[in-house]
Symmetry: C2
DNA sequence: ACTCTCTCTGCAAAGCTTTGCATAGGAGAA
DNA sequence: TTCTCCTATGCAAAGCTTTGCAGAGAGAGT
């Protein structure tokens, strides 16, 4: 069926080690021999067996990438960037979906541990302790969460939240609802902390609603509670939830942004498509994916603890407007 | 670092073959021995080395999954379903993004060929000939395209297009524009054929605009051309394009659906979120993912040529309305 | 008591490649 | 010519597991 290094060696009249070197250490082989070997290999359709290679070198040239939910448009850009970056360096990416389940997450890391040279953990839901344990099994890089130990890639959510509050207060809003994300999400905690601080310093009244699943449905379901508070603005855990909130508000007859303004976080693709366009804190998804791969490959998941924080940016669209009865000052 | 089968064998006082069997053929090992081995393995944190296993068995328990564009919301549900289905059977899925590039596509298949037990080719753009060649390297299942040879999973786009035309003609539309997809897309051709046939039999005037990239931007760009035809309805290659068309139309001051109706294909998540909600032909994405994995695993990509066609369904939302000046009959 | 059958375990080869070490041969220097 | 030093190649071990074959021991049947 598929030819092995022996076939090539025989056909080229050299020892298998020469064939091996022609591929992985060309400078050790004379030019003519190398050309001949490569030509024969080409003709025979020879491709080194990755399993044998991995067995002896201990490197698979694969990277694992765990995400909570592939269907969340937040992840694809990150994955694309990571995969592209990995590909440039001769690595493939194994993507797995954990379904927001910490148990599945841990199982998957363990299952992948020996098949990959490292794993990117995106927005992991498992405990810090579990991450520490797993780190001994396989090099890890964590995205979107603070953990002691492995290199970490973060997005500056606090700055984004502050910008959102500045935007809202400039529009005259004095009562804001924060619709949080799921328990165990670092981002959700970070957003909450930043929102609390920003609200206090701006003298804004903040109501926290949560925890919630990070889905559009959960957002829609939260809309009633939002209205009950009488607030004039909402900050949501992410765009999916924000879109759900808008849906729920509109459903309940509350005009957005006339009666109430909505701000999301992430800037996923659909946020541009919906109407009103969603004002949101844009996160550097592609940059995070690339950075995570860099960290994993360059430091091998070890080395000094690196903590990389990437900037965020408020994108103002149509879902925010002056607070009702409070014309823009 | 990580323990091998020898460590476990030594610690349990048995031969390595017994350890191996305790894992992969438990019925061949006495109950007490097995328990002891398993307990020792657990204590030592032993996990079989997949590379060594793959080397000797020739099976990796990995599946490849190639998609044209991960960021297209069409794919995530398919991938999720495929990965879930694979996981249940002890397989992992390696996802790769081809960036709509036939060359990258072919390279990726070749690169993955020895690392996986089979590859799912979703909406491939490469030539039939290339698929035939690659089929000799690795078991293949093709999704969303007709190819002789490998098992194929299709969605009944023709039926969906017919349903869309029935819906439009019932609303009084007599002039329809078809905004096609990229060259090399089987689906685009299929849609065009079905649309041409449906238009003829319904006495509807059909204008074909394309080829176009399968993106929102392309849709928006096509809007001007659509308006120029004077048609009262549009059928787009997919929802992304349809959403772009709506955007472009609204931008140009044409009311949707008042002046012109728009129908998409796929029913991706954002289609529910936008306003007006997109009328679209829903395709069975998850079912296709599962079916493709089934086919790959059960038939090993060989066996009788299977061609599985899954049903589609027209979902009517708010982007379609009676043709202007032609009240519903 | 003997043989036959089974069940369980051990032995060793095989799978494909990489890589440290050894060697052969040639070129250059003395 | 002889010795030294390189370069290019070969040799063989190692990496970890699976699996066909064989053997040991126990239990059963006669």
């Amino acid at each position: 069926m598929s030819s092995t290094i022996r076939d090539v060696a025989a056909a080229a009249g050299v020892h298998i080690s020469t064939v091996s070197r022609a591929f992985s250490a060309p400078h050790l082989v004379s030019r003519e021999t190398r050309d001949r070997v490569l030509e024969v290999a080409e003709r025979l359709g020879y491709r080194p067996n990755p399993a044998a290679r991995a067995l002896i070198t201990g490197r698979t040239h694969n990277l694992g990438l765990l995400v909570a939910d592939l269907a969340n448009p937040f992840f694809p850009p990150l994955i694309k960037a990571a995969a592209g970056c990995a590909r440039e360096r001769g690595y493939h990416v194994v993507v797995a979906d954990t379904d927001e389940d910490p148990v599945v997450e841990e199982e998957l890391v363990l299952a992948l541990a020996r098949q990959v040279d490292g794993i990117l953990l995106c927005s992991p839901r498992m405990t810090n302790e579990a991450i520490g344990r797993l780190r001994e099994e396989v090099p890890l890089v964590v995205v979107n969460r603070v953990v002691a130990g492995p290199p970490v890639v973060l997005m500056d959510l606090a700055a984004g939240v502050r910008a959102a509050f500045e935007h809202l207060t400039a529009l005259g809003h004095r009562a804001v609802v924060l619709v949080t994300g799921p328990r165990g999400s670092w981002a959700s905690g970070e957003i909450r902390r930043a929102a609390t601080a920003a609200a206090r310093s701006a003298g804004v009244d903040l109501t926290v609603l949560g925890p919630n699943p990070p889905t559009q449905e959960a957002g829609a379901a939260a809309a009633a509670g939002v209205l009950r508070t009488g607030a004039t603005a909402v900050l949501a855990y992410n765009d999916l939830v924000a879109i759900g909130v808008i849906e729920g508000l509109v459903e309940a007859g509350a005009d957005v942004p006339g009666r109430i303004s909505v701000v999301g976080i992430d800037d996923i693709a659909p946020s541009r498509m919906i109407s009103p366009g969603l004002t949101t804190v844009a996160t550097p998804k592609a940059a995070a994916g690339r950075a995570a791969v860099d960290l994993l490959l360059e430091r091998g998941g070890d080395g000094v603890t690196a903590r990389l924080t990437l900037g965020t940016e408020l994108v103002v669209r149509e879902s925010t407007a002056p607070a009702p009865g409070r014309p823009l000052t």
